[in-house]
């Protein structure tokens, strides 16, 4: 469960580059909800995701995960409850380390790390079984450095890493945007499988409207740091990509109208 209340984030406050990325966002994501988040560039989607993950302090508002206020907790502490996959396939894994080492790091997320062996004998069986579900043949390459793998393979491993210890919430930041269409499709399939398996509370940012409607059970559109559309259930089922595009143009035109008025005033 994610509760976001009155979240405000202003970058470069007080400078000419001042940018209100989040201007009072309220969002409640129930347990097991899979929310897709869309919006134009600069709408605040990724900022919202990063604010929940704790990548930077927010200027106002509160963030709760499963009822616990995490607003002031640093990123690495929040990470105990959060699985994350980034847009850049290189960002989720350590290239110089082997597949099994990467998975072992993720398998200890939220646990104390001591002087026990990083990769234990029992781990390997588990990792092999997990990797086999990808169907990429990686189960026989446990000791290969991750740097040798393709972007799609690395993103698949990152997904496994984000979910190997069941996270309270899963944050996906355009995690298929940098992949070719076929690989993107594979990674989305895997995402659906993993989310379903553990009934994960998920927040997924995407640029792809079709993806936003096909996956998950709720879609949110952001614009200028606010949520301007929030659909689920019946209403969402009837929605088409065209409807979403129309909504986009509607708010764009509103903006222009506003700025015209401001100029005239």
């Amino acid at each position: 469960m994610i509760q976001v209340e009155g979240l405000i984030k202003i970058f470069h406050r007080g400078s000419v580059n001042e940018n209100v990325a989040l201007s009072g966002v309220d969002l409640h994501v129930a347990d097991g909800d899979f929310v897709t988040l869309i919006g134009s560039n600069g709408a605040g989607k990724s900022t919202l995701l990063n604010a929940v993950a704790g990548a930077f302090p927010v200027d106002a508002g509160a963030i709760r995960i499963d009822g616990r206020d995490v607003t002031r907790l640093p990123e690495h502490v929040r990470a105990r409850d959060i699985g994350r996959v980034f847009q850049d396939p290189l960002k989720g894994t350590a290239a110089s380390m082997t597949i099994e080492e990467n998975l072992a790091i993720a398998a200890r997320r939220g646990l104390r790390r001591g002087l026990a062996r990083g990769v234990r004998g029992g781990d390997r069986e588990e990792f092999r079984a997990l990797l086999a579900t990808l169907g990429l043949g990686l189960e026989n390459r446990l000791r290969d450095p991750v740097g040798l793998l393709s972007g799609g393979q690395r993103q698949s491993i990152t997904l496994l890493m984000a979910t190997i210890r069941r996270p309270k919430i899963l944050l996906l930041d355009e995690h298929t945007a940098a992949l070719d269409p076929k690989t993107a499709h594979l990674v989305m399939d895997l995402t659906d499988r993993l989310v379903e398996r553990d009934r994960l509370t998920t927040l997924m940012v995407t640029h792809n409207m079709e993806q936003a409607l096909r996956h998950g059970n709720r879609t949110i559109m952001m614009h200028r740091g606010r949520i301007i559309l929030d659909v689920s259930g019946e209403e969402r089922r009837g929605l088409t990509v065209k409807d979403l595009l129309d909504k986009f143009h509607e708010v764009r035109t509103d903006d222009e109208g506003l700025s015209d008025r401001m100029l005239l005033a």
Partner: protein, 299 residues
């Protein structure tokens, strides 16, 4: 090169391999160029020599030297992580400060240990001449430290440390505080460097405030030579490479010092220039080569 010179170079190679392992830990594993080592090497020597000359046990003196080195590394990490000072600058600040600290510790620019008990003393006079004994002792210490380091880098904590240097965003998302891992890594690294300094002081019979000059460059040269010789495919290979690199580096220097070009003979005072050129070539050539290859491909 005489047999004595050869064994001397071997001894130095192993003695400074401990330092090079420390440099590997920061420069390669943590991706943190740490110049603290120029100060923490003489710090280890200074603490050890001072402890011995005031009647202390030589083994305890080494432990104290290592602890002092770890504190120095922690200070650099603190400056870089908590105060957000650029890592290179943070390490230079600690290095400069250590020069004064080392003079304070010793109370004078150098301390002679020739008549004092050292950790080598109990081993001497048991059939092995010193020029064979010393390299063996250092090789044994390097072996122990190398194995310990290899083991540590494969523990849960060690994996977190390696991931910190490889991909800080990823390891943070996996719940690791990179401030902690950087502090741990720099403390371990400078502990090794101080150990190297303490042992060198005891073997050569003196600690000198200037003995740390160029440490980082020698360490880098060893790390890079090691990578060229055995590659860096795995942690184990890289560690073997660092030790080998250190030995080859000292042998190369001994060789360079024994050749004459007509009237020109290289002296120990030329070493820093030679080493710097060596490191520049090793760091610069791969980039230049790929640039040239690209240009040729275009033409």
């Amino acid at each position: 090169m005489s047999f004595y010179t050869f064994m001397g170079a071997l001894e130095q190679g192993f003695a400074y391999a401990l330092m090079a392992l420390g440099v590997y830990l920061t420069f390669r594993v943590l991706d943190f160029p740490d110049l603290t080592v120029d100060g923490s090497l003489p710090l280890g020597a200074a603490v050890s020599a001072t402890w011995i000359t005031t009647g202390g046990d030589p083994y305890v003196s080494i432990a104290l030297g290592v602890v002092a080195g770890m504190v120095a590394g922690w200070v650099t990490a603190f400056l870089a992580t908590k105060l957000k000072i650029l890592h290179l600058l943070a390490s230079i600040l600690t290095m400069i400060a250590l020069y004064s600290v080392n003079l304070r510790v010793m109370g004078r620019p150098n301390i002679t240990l020739l008549t004092e008990p050292t950790v080598f003393a109990p081993l001497e006079g048991r059939g092995l001449p010193n020029h064979i004994l010393y390299p063996l002792v250092f090789a044994a210490v390097v072996l122990v430290c190398g194995v310990l380091l290899w083991w540590f880098l494969h523990t849960e904590l060690g994996l977190a440390l390696r991931a910190t240097g490889d991909n800080p965003a990823m390891i943070t998302a996996q719940g690791v505080n990179t401030t902690f891992t950087v502090m741990l890594g720099l403390a371990l690294s400078n502990g090794l460097v101080a150990l190297s300094g303490a042992l060198v002081a005891q073997s050569q019979g003196s600690a000198d405030v200037g003995m740390g000059v160029g440490t980082i460059v020698a360490g880098l040269a060893s790390v890079i030579l090691g990578e060229a010789l055995v590659g860096d495919g795995s942690v184990g290979r890289a560690l073997v490479g660092v030790v080998l690199g250190s030995v080859v580096y000292r042998l190369a220097i001994a060789t360079a010092l024994s050749v004459r070009f007509g009237d020109l003979a290289l002296t120990p005072s030329d070493l820093n220039l030679i080493t710097a050129v060596l490191v520049v070539v090793a760091l610069g050539v791969p980039g230049l080569r790929s640039k040239l290859l690209r240009r040729r491909a275009v033409a």
